[in-house]
């Protein structure tokens, strides 16, 4: 059996655009291997060039179909494109059927496109870490634009789309009367709204409702980004070019107003905090054994209360840590 190639050896290959090396590193990042941390650190230092676009919307709103068309237009404009498609795992088995790729089959043979499916499994917060590691890997590997597709439910997923430079929120006509972006709590994070399936007769109404919604908080000013509402359809193909135009305009807006620096700081800040929380949580899971069972007994028997037990648990953990460090 050949020995696995060390992750650090894959770094120069990944940076030279070797897709196999990128694919391997993404798997190791996803598994949370400590072995690959130095490699990811190295790649992070060489990333920051790609334009990252988060695409979110309720299940079935047409995200994957849209991503395929958008990616094809990006390719036609002479740029390369990476896609990270995140699908929910089964809460029962932890397994998943990752179906987004089926809708992206026209990209399958294109050497300038890289599609990677990811499942939502893993510790809370771990998904955001792994998918943003994957973005760094594709970025350092030279992809010009990176699209992240995720279902807009749950804090973890919102954190992921917020990690894009441009956030696109997709609503479809006929998926209930409410504006889906409001329901999912993602109205505010949209830089661009898409109403998909514009070939359907009820699409206009969704467009009008969204525009009405957005006009309420219009502030004056030349430097203010006005969130456009773009209707798209796949068959007949329409609006996809407008969407790519809006994404490119948004990128230019971020650059010309200097807002991009603010976004980068915000994204970096969120990532640091999320990872720190993940580490603390894992540390806690690992160390809490021992004291925990005893405290549980006492809380169950009502000899102490849950709050006091939690405080006692944490101070015991802190003592452990300071002993280890001494």
């Amino acid at each position: 059996m050949p020995k696995p190639t060390p992750s650090l050896e894959l770094v120069p290959q990944a940076r030279a655009g070797n897709r196999r090396a990128m694919a391997r590193l993404i798997s190791r990042a996803e598994a949370g291997d400590d072995e690959c941390r130095p490699a990811l650190a190295e790649l992070y230092r060489h990333s920051g060039r790609a334009h990252v676009v988060g695409i979110t919307g309720v299940p079935g709103s047409g995200k994957s179909t849209l991503v395929q068309k958008l990616a094809q237009d990006i390719r036609a404009s002479g740029r390369t494109v990476g896609v990270i498609a995140i699908d929910p795992s089964s809460p029962y088995s932890g397994g998943s059927i990752l179906g987004d790729r089926v809708r992206m089959s026209e990209l399958a043979a294109d050497a300038g496109a890289f599609i990677r499916s990811m499942a939502t499994r893993g510790t809370l917060g771990g998904l955001a870490r792994a998918s943003l590691d994957a973005v760094d890997i594709l970025d350092a590997g030279g992809y010009d634009v990176i699209l992240i597709e995720t279902v807009g439910v749950g804090q973890d997923e919102v954190d992921i789309v917020k990690a894009g430079h441009t956030t696109v929120v997709v609503s479809a006509p006929g998926l209930g009367d409410d504006i889906q972006a409001i329901k999912a709590g993602v109205l505010e994070i949209a830089d661009i709204h898409v109403v998909s399936k514009a070939d359907r007769p009820d699409a206009n109404r969704t467009v009008t409702e969204l525009k009405g919604m957005l006009s309420m908080d219009l502030q004056p000013g030349a430097d203010i980004w006005r969130c456009p509402v773009i209707a798209t359809s796949v068959e007949p193909k329409s609006g996809i070019d407008d969407l790519l135009g809006a994404i490119d305009r948004h990128r230019e807006h971020l650059a010309s107003t200097g807002e991009i620096e603010q976004r980068r700081r915000q994204i970096a800040g969120n990532r640091i905090i999320k990872i720190a929380e993940e580490i603390v949580r894992e540390d806690f899971e690992r160390r809490r054994h021992g004291q925990f069972d005893d405290l549980l007994e006492r809380v169950t028997g009502r000899r102490t209360d849950p709050y006091a037990a939690a405080v006692a648990l944490l101070s015991a953990l802190r003592e452990n840590i300071s002993h280890e460090q001494a």
């Binding site: 949370g32 088995s93 399958a108 599609i115 499994r121």
Partner: protein, 138 residues
């Protein structure tokens, strides 16, 4: 952070003309229920597309389902593309309708396991687990 986060990744692929995917979908669900991450290629893919997808997705196993009898032309193309992409560490299995006399030939081409059409889903789950275990770390 440990190996608990790692689950077996599988690409189930339909190649060529045949338009039946009921069987593949049943297998996909069985694998998911066993905790694996399953990516399905959709119908009518070319051997090259399937191999490239397996490389990008970095699956442990590429399961090719063929009912049309085209395995002897499809499998060599898949194996060749995997080698080109330096992804020949990916385990390839073939499933569907395969006549006895081709089984040895497919093994020679590097197919590690052949699962004929009537293989119960449980058996597919356990043989996929065994294949990944036998391969070891990569």
């Amino acid at each position: 952070m440990n190996d608990d986060n790692r689950s077996i990744r599988v690409l189930l692929a339909k190649v060529g003309l045949d338009g039946h995917d009921r069987g593949v979908k049943i297998v996909a669900r069985a694998l998911r229920d066993a905790g694996m991450d399953v990516i399905y290629s959709g119908l009518h893919r070319t051997p090259e597309e399937v191999a490239t997808a397996a490389m990008q997705e970095d699956v442990d196993i590429l399961g090719v389902s063929i009912l049309s009898g085209a395995h002897m032309t499809v499998i060599p193309k898949i194996m060749a593309r995997l080698r080109e992409e330096s992804a020949d560490d990916i385990i390839v299995t073939a499933g569907g309708v395969i006549p006895d006399e081709d089984i040895d030939k497919l093994h020679e081409l590097g197919v590690q396991k052949i699962l004929l059409q009537d293989t119960p889903p449980d058996e597919i789950v356990s043989s996929f687990r065994a294949l990944v275990e036998a391969r070891g770390e990569r």
